[in-house]
C-alpha cells in the first residue's frame, strides 16, 4: 500500500513555475514560450528507494546536505521518520514515503506521488536490497524469492517508469546499487549473487537504451560497507575487515554518478578484486572457498 505521504494534492510537475518549459498559454507575437532553465550542474530533485538504513540513508543525508530535495522511500516508516528528523536542518528538503518495494503494483503510483512532491526529477537511486541468511546446504525457495522480489522485481518496477519519464524529458540520472556479489556465482548465497547479476544486466541495457536520450545510468558495485547488511554477515560469523563507512560510500556513489561513470566499484580497490574474481577459471573456482 502506498501510505498517505503528505497534505499536498497530487499535481503534475509542470505546475512548478520554476520548472515549467511549457509555452505560456496566451503567448502573442514577440512573446515566445519561455525556455526551460538550463540544466543545473547538480541535482535539484532526487528519489532514493531503500532509504531506511545503510547506503540509502547515507545517500539521502548527503544529497539533502548538498541542497537536493529528496523523496526517501522505504518500507519501515519509523526509520524514515528518524531519517527525516536527522535531515531537518539540511539545505534540501526530505520527504518520506512508506512503500514496500515487493509490492510491484504500488511502485508506479508511488513514483508519481514522489514526482508530484518534488515537481520533477533529476536523479533516482535504487538502493533497496535484501540478503537473506542462507546456510551452506540450504535451498530455501521462499527466502530466494524474497530476495528476487526486492532486488530485481522492485528494481524493475521502480526504474521502468523512472526511465520512461527521464527519457521523455531527455535528462536525468539513474543509479542502481548492485554488488560485487554479482560478478560470479559464488557458493555462499546463489540467489543473492544472481539478483545482483540480473541488476547489472538490466542496468546496462537501460544505459544503452537511454544513451541517445541524454539519460545516464550508473551501476554501483559496492564491496564491504558498514551497513546493517554487513552487520548481519558478521553476526553469522564471517570475519570482514576493511569496510568503508556508508557515508564514504554514498559520497563515492554520487561522485561517480555526477561524472557519468558507467560501472563503478566502491571503494575503487574492489575493481581489482572484481577483475580477479571474474577471471578465475571455473575448474578452479569450484574448489575455492570464496
Amino acid at each position: 500500500m502506498v501510505a498517505p505521504m503528505s497534505q499536498h494534492p497530487p499535481h503534475a510537475p509542470s505546475s512548478d513555475p520554476a520548472h515549467a518549459s511549457a509555452p505560456h498559454a496566451d503567448a502573442h507575437h514577440g512573446e515566445p514560450p519561455a525556455a526551460a532553465p538550463t540544466r543545473a550542474p547538480t541535482w535539484k530533485r532526487a528519489i532514493v528507494v531503500g532509504a531506511s538504513s545503510g547506503i540509502g540513508a547515507a545517500l539521502v543525508r548527503e544529497l539533502a546536505a548538498a541542497g537536493t530535495d529528496v523523496v526517501a522511500i522505504a518500507r519501515r516508516a519509523e526509520q524514515l521518520g528518524e531519517l527525516a528528523r536527522s535531515c531537518a536542518g539540511a539545505r534540501g528538503r526530505v520527504h518520506v514515503l512508506a512503500h514496500d518495494v515487493a509490492r510491484f503494483d504500488d511502485a508506479a503510483p508511488a513514483f508519481e506521488r514522489a514526482l508530484a512532491e518534488l515537481g520533477g526529477l533529476d536523479l533516482i537511486v535504487y538502493a533497496a536490497g535484501a540478503m537473506r541468511e542462507i546456510g551452506a546446504n540450504e535451498f530455501d525457495t521462499g527466502k530466494d524469492l524474497d530476495m528476487l522480489a526486492v532486488n530485481v522485481g522492485g528494481c524493475v518496477a521502480w526504474l521502468n517508469p523512472a526511465a520512461n519519464f527521464l527519457r521523455t524529458q531527455r535528462s536525468g540520472t539513474l543509479v542502481g546499487i548492485s554488488s560485487i556479489a554479482g560478478e560470479r556465482g559464488r557458493k555462499g548465497n546463489p540467489v543473492y549473487g544472481a539478483t545482483k547479476a540480473a541488476m547489472n544486466h538490466y542496468l546496462e541495457a537501460l544505459r544503452n537504451r537511454l544513451a541517445d536520450w541524454n539519460v545516464h545510468v550508473c551501476t554501483i558495485k559496492p564491496g564491504f560497507v558498514e551497513t546493517p547488511m554487513l552487520a548481519q554477515a558478521r553476526a553469522q560469523g564471517r570475519k570482514i575487515k576493511g569496510a568503508i563507512s556508508a557515508e564514504e560510500c554514498a559520497r563515492s556513489i554520487l561522485a561517480a554518478a555526477r561524472a557519468r561513470k558507467n560501472e563503478v566499484f566502491v571503494p575503487f580497490k574492489w575493481r581489482l578484486v572484481g577483475f580477479v574474481i571474474r577471471n578465475i577459471p571455473s575448474f578452479l573456482f569450484k574448489g575455492m572457498n570464496i
Partner: protein, 489 residues
C-alpha cells in the same frame, strides 16, 4: 478539482496513465502531462467520462509529429490514441481502408502496398497516425493534384466529449465532417476512419529533377508541369541572396502505367521499399544526427545548402530514374531523429517550422520578401521547402490556391525572442496578402491572427459546433489556448 489531475487518479479509473514530458516534434515547446493511452473505443469513452466528471482538460495526440503545440497540454492531460491501431478492413476491389485512429501512415502503406495500393495522401514522414493526419488535414507533395487527406476521406466516426459517437460523411453530419477534418481534435476524437486509397501498378515512381536558379524559374516550372505531374516538390537554398534568391531543386515524380514495371510483384514488396538501417553497410543511421550536429550552425548549413544546390544542378542533367514510393515520399525519415542535430536540451533548443500559404497572385512577391527579411534579420532557415496547393472544403483548412514555403528555423535560448518577433512580422505580411497558416507546423500565430486569416462565417460556425459537441470545453490544449480560444470560447 479543475486543471491537471495526476495520472495516478486517472489510472485508477481508466486506461494506464504515465506522467511524461510531452513535446512538439520540433522540441521547442513542451510540457509535463499525464498521458492516457486508451486501447479501445470503450476506454476512450471512459477517459471522456472521467474528464466530464472532473472537468479535466484533454488534448488529443497521435504520433506527436506536429512541429508546434498542437498536441501539448500544459494544463491538463494528453489523450494519446496511438494504441488504437488496428486495420479494420481493406476492400481489394475498391481500395477502401477502414482504420482505427492510431494506425500510422507506415502501418497503412505497409498493409496495402503489397496488395497494389498506396495512400492517396502521405506526409513527408510515415509516423503520423491517420487520426492525427485527418485532424491536421495533412497534405503531401501532390496537394496541387489530389488535395489533402480530407479529400481522400470517405467517412469517420467521431466520439464527442459528451460521450456520443457520430458517424460523419459528406451527406450525414456534413458540417461535422468538414469541421472535424482540420479541426485539430477540438470537436472530438476519431474512432474509425474510412480512407480511399489509390491503385498503383508498381512499387516505384519515376523521378526527375530540375534546378531553377530563382524563385520565379521554380514557380514557372511548377505551373508548366503541374497538369501532367503526380508529385512536385521544391527545395530552396535559403542562404542564397540577391540574384540567386530562391535557387533550388525541384523533384517531380509520376506513377508508372500498367505494364511499365515488368516485375511489380518485386517492387511492391516491403523489402524493396525499406530505407536501409546502415549507411555504406556499416555506419548506423541512428547515429547520423550526431554528425549533422557538427554542421548545425549558420556556416555549416550555408555549406550544406550550397553543396546540395550544386548536386541538384548535376542531378537535373541526368535522365529520370526510378525510386520506391517510400523512398520518394518519406524524405524526413532518412535520418532518424535528425532534429536532435538542433540540440537535445529539453525546451531550450529545437526548431520551429514556419509555413505560410500565400495565394497565387501574391506568392512570388511575398515569398521573396520573406526570404529577404530572414536574411536581413540574421535568421536564415536551415531548410526551405516549396509546394503548390489547391483549395479544399474543410472549414479551418490552410490550403489556398497558391504556394507554401516551409521554413525550418533553429531555436536556441539566445535566438528565441528575436525569432518570434521576426515571425510576427512575416505573419503580418502573409495575412495582408490573403495567406493562411497550418497548425500542424505553426507555433507562433495568435487568436487574433487566426480570426483574420480564416473566413469569419467559418469561424462562427466552428465556434457554434464546438459549443454543441463539447459544451464543457474539455478538449483544449496549448494550441487551442494560443490560437482559438479568444474567438471560439
Amino acid at each position: 478539482m479543475g486543471g491537471a489531475l495526476s495520472g495516478f487518479a486517472l489510472r485508477a479509473r481508466t486506461a494506464a496513465a504515465n506522467l511524461e514530458y510531452v513535446e512538439g516534434w520540433g522540441m521547442a515547446v513542451g510540457a509535463f502531462s499525464p498521458v492516457l493511452r486508451p486501447r479501445s473505443v470503450e476506454e476512450l469513452l471512459e477517459c471522456f467520462r472521467v474528464a466530464r466528471e472532473r472537468g479535466l482538460s484533454l488534448t488529443l495526440r497521435g504520433g506527436g509529429n506536429s512541429y508546434g503545440d498542437a498536441s501539448i497540454n500544459s494544463r491538463g492531460a494528453v489523450l494519446d490514441c496511438s494504441r488504437m491501431d488496428r486495420v479494420l478492413a481493406f476492400d481489394l476491389a475498391t481500395g477502401v481502408a477502414t482504420l482505427e485512429p492510431g494506425v500510422t501512415i507506415e502501418k497503412l502503406w505497409k498493409t496495402i502496398l503489397p496488395l497494389g495500393f498506396w495512400p492517396r495522401v502521405v506526409s513527408g514522414t510515415m509516423f503520423p497516425t491517420v487520426a492525427g493526419a485527418l485532424a491536421a488535414n495533412i497534405h503531401g507533395k501532390n496537394n496541387f493534384a489530389v488535395g489533402t487527406i480530407g479529400d481522400a476521406c470517405l467517412e469517420f466516426d467521431l466520439a464527442l466529449p459528451t460521450g456520443e459517437v457520430k458517424t460523419c460523411n459528406r451527406e450525414r453530419n456534413a458540417d461535422l465532417f468538414h469541421a472535424a477534418i482540420g479541426g485539430f481534435g477540438l470537436l472530438g476524437a476519431f474512432t474509425r476512419i474510412v480512407l480511399q486509397t489509390k491503385r498503383v501498378h508498381s512499387g516505384d515512381v519515376r523521378v526527375s529533377a530540375a534546378s531553377p536558379r530563382t524563385l520565379r524559374e521554380m514557380m514557372d516550372w511548377f505551373e508548366e508541369h503541374k497538369h501532367e505531374s503526380d508529385y512536385l516538390v521544391g527545395w530552396i537554398d535559403c542562404f542564397a541572396g540577391e540574384d540567386s534568391a530562391g535557387r533550388g531543386l525541384i523533384h517531380r515524380a509520376d506513377y508508372l502505367e500498367p505494364g511499365e514495371d515488368r516485375h511489380p510483384e518485386r517492387t511492391l514488396r516491403i523489402d524493396h521499399q525499406e530505407l536501409p538501417a546502415n549507411i555504406l553497410g556499416a555506419f548506423p543511421k541512428s547515429q547520423v544526427w550526431r554528425i549533422l550536429r557538427l554542421f548545425n550552425n549558420d556556416l555549416g548549413m550555408r555549406s550544406i545548402n550550397a553543396a546540395k544546390y550544386v548536386a541538384g544542378r548535376l542531378e537535373s542533367m541526368a535522365p529520370p530514374y526510378l525510386q520506391s514510393h517510400a523512398g520518394f515520399a518519406f524524405l524526413l525519415d532518412y535520418v532518424p531523429n535528425w532534429k536532435w542535430a538542433y540540440g537535445q536540451q529539453r525546451g531550450d533548443y529545437g526548431l520551429i517550422q514556419y509555413q505560410p500559404f500565400v495565394p497565387n497572385e501574391h506568392a512570388h512577391a511575398v515569398h521573396c520578401e520573406i526570404l529577404a527579411r530572414c536574411r536581413r534579420a540574421g535568421h536564415v532557415p536551415y531548410l526551405g521547402v516549396f509546394k503548390r496547393h489547391r483549395p479544399d472544403p474543410f472549414w479551418l483548412t490552410h490550403a489556398v490556391d497558391g504556394w507554401s514555403f516551409a521554413l525550418d528555423f533553429k531555436v536556441s535560448p539566445s535566438r528565441r525572442q528575436e525569432l518570434w518577433k521576426l515571425c510576427g512580422e512575416l505573419t503580418e505580411l502573409v495575412i495582408q496578402a490573403g495567406g493562411r497558416f497550418y497548425f500542424a507546423k505553426d507555433a507562433v500565430v495568435d487568436a487574433r491572427d487566426t480570426a483574420r486569416f480564416l473566413p469569419r462565417a467559418r469561424l462562427e460556425a466552428f465556434a457554434a459546433l464546438k459549443h454543441s459537441c463539447d459544451p464543457q470545453q474539455l478538449l483544449d490544449g496549448d494550441l487551442y489556448r494560443r490560437a482559438f480560444r479568444e474567438w471560439c470560447a
